[in-house]
Symmetry: C2
Subunit: 383 residues, 2 copies
């Protein structure tokens, strides 16, 4: 399953000793071909980690043979030494597999501002190479976890070809272009420009609309590698839909495992003048701490939805706004609507619909509630 | 003290029964002249409460004789009936004092989306009028509290004239133009255009740079009333500085009493290319939930400062950023700086300095930490 569900890939996940806990912390994914086409999207945070700067460069050629990923340290804000460490990691993988370093992408996740323990990471690469297997996808998915409580994988199998992937991410989870660390693989045979097109289309409406805590990471990376091993070239639309489905599934898994969360909140903005307006309003609602606290307390506090909408530049008239929570239109025409007592808030999923009455565009943003557990998890220790 | 420190003002604060707790909930401030010049600034939230819409209109003439304020209900998102209620409140005050309704500003604070109990509020106006006194400033300040644990007042006395004021606000505290409810009074004799100029200059660098929880209210209002009773017309610069000092003091009192907060965080952005850049970066840092949790846990997690800076459009180079926490430069040139163990985090005030190395402009934004108490206070009941 995971990144080895598609033919033409091997993977491994091991404990290199980067994490003090001794948990798995190093993953390797290798494309055994025959093709090496690849695409990637990266964080739009302007403070980018060293592995993001490296992998962006490597991807420019449209090909990748291997991806090495570590948890236990983000290698972000680590200056020239951090970049040298990323480069050395790629060189080590290349040397072990008989490749050039320019065929190896690097991903890191963990605490910002700390150098990686290269004395543990580099021997770990050798150990991972020794364990590469067509069944290694799950172990790789486990090795990239940080505060994730479960590993995340997804597979879409079509007629003779497959798209699979793994993801990690539980906090600092508001990707601007991608999210956290995701590796997707396929055995379909497509050139890198179509991989890139399908990946950008998929992430734009999946990972990009996950906004768990409003905090954009320095390390977000989504990679898509194609081996061509299935010897099938699917229709582009069919392929793009499979990539989107896997991204959507992984994005949902990220939301369901977000740090400290007790509610998964689906915010659908409808009847917006533009899709950008719908996304802006959805994000503003998703980032309203007071609303997120209210929903944690199972309080359908729609006034906080309206105060969030009011901070945006989207087209709307305040006296035409309508808001439903779990299907009950508690706000109509900017004022009191149906009885808020009718809203059933007992379940983990909360659905908010914000009707801007300004057009026909829409967007869905996913977020979580704000809980004492989130505060505890992010104040009790550095992460 | 408070709004009655300046000559030419009376005030009252009473319990009208708007709050179920029976606590004081209705305040009245009256300018007894001889002048009636006034100015006001209001929330930039596009979803504005009925009293904001009313008071904005009233202020257009540059004069005010009375301000009536209620806690226990924001009268926001209450439709045409809510506006009628605000109008009726102003009419009632006008009738009781022999004024026109157009001389009366109205301010409300409390839960959004609920109509005010006018059967209690209107008789309360009569009761408040009956208790108007030159010593009523403190009672008025107490009557406008919601989740505030203390009432907030401030006075600046100059040579023969005075500026005084009161404020409330503890949550939904990220004013875009003003903050929560503030009434300032002066016995200096100045025309409304100079009051307006001084008030806008003062709020721009005081209340506007308080960002406790990133949530902008629908009801923010700051009013300044001048009685001329001191029969002194101060130099504009001297007057503007007194207004700024009172606004700054009240803004600090709001931060110190913010819901659930255990830290007051002063974020100074220096060496920015423009003041707008400095404010944008300061706000981005102030709104980063992960950083606010870390500071709650007394963890000088500067990586979260850099990830917040990276989401802005301000001019900077990532490898030239410097960050100090409580005077220790823990991040230099975008990487690891002085030992974070040197940072003493034991005190309530935390000082963050973010050096963008891109110019010579600066700005200070104040915020609070994010705590389990904030989550509890905003999830356990509607507010």
């Amino acid at each position: 399953m995971s990144v080895t569900a598609a033919k033409g890939f091997t993977a491994a996940g091991i404990a290199a000793g980067i994490k003090e806990s001794g948990n798995p912390d190093l993953a390797l994914v290798v494309n055994t071909g025959p093709r090496r086409a690849a695409a990637g999207v990266f964080t739009s945070n302007r403070v980018k980690a060293a592995p993001v700067l490296w992998s962006e460069q490597v991807l420019k050629g449209g090909e990748l043979t291997a991806v090495v990923l570590n948890s236990g340290g983000a290698n972000a804000c680590t200056g020239p030494k951090g970049f040298q460490d990323t480069h050395a990691t790629a060189e080590k993988v290349a040397e072990s597999l008989g490749l050039g370093a320019g065929e190896v992408a690097v991903c890191s996740t963990g605490l910002i501002g700390v150098l990686l323990p290269m004395d543990k990471l580099l021997p770990g690469v050798d150990a991972a190479v020794g364990q590469l297997s067509e069944h290694g996808g799950e172990k790789a998915a486990i090795a990239i976890k940080t505060t994730d409580t479960v590993h995340k994988t997804s597979v879409a199998t079509q007629d003779g070809w497959t798209v699979g992937g793994m993801a990690k991410g539980a906090g600092m989870l508001a990707p601007g272009l991608a999210t956290m660390l995701v590796v997707l693989t396929t055995d379909a045979d497509l050139p890198s420009d179509l991989l890139d097109k399908a990946l950008r289309a998929a992430t734009r409406t999946t990972f990009d609309r996950v906004d768990s805590d409003g905090c954009m990471s320095t390390n977000d990376t989504v990679l898509l590698l194609a081996s061509g091993a299935a010897q099938v070239t699917p229709e582009y639309a069919e392929f793009a839909e499979a990539v989107r489905a896997v991204c959507d599934d992984l994005g949902q898994q990220l939301i369901r495992d977000a740090e400290g969360a007790s509610k998964d909140i689906r915010i659908e903005v409808v009847n917006a003048a533009t899709e950008d307006d719908a996304v802006e309003v959805g994000r503003s609602i998703a980032r309203n701490n007071l609303l997120k606290c209210a929903l944690h307390g199972e309080d359908p506090n729609w006034g906080r939805v309206l105060s969030a909408i009011g901070t945006t530049k989207a087209a709307f008239e305040p006296d035409q706004l309508n808001v439903a929570i779990n299907g009950v239109w508690v706000c109509k025409n900017g004022g009191v609507g149906e009885d808020r007592e009718k809203v059933d808030m007992r379940y983990r999923e909360v659905r908010i619909t914000a009707d801007l009455a300004a057009g026909s565009e829409s967007a869905v943003i996913w977020t979580n509630d704000l809980t004492a557990d989130y505060v505890h998890e992010n104040s009790a220790y550095s992460s």
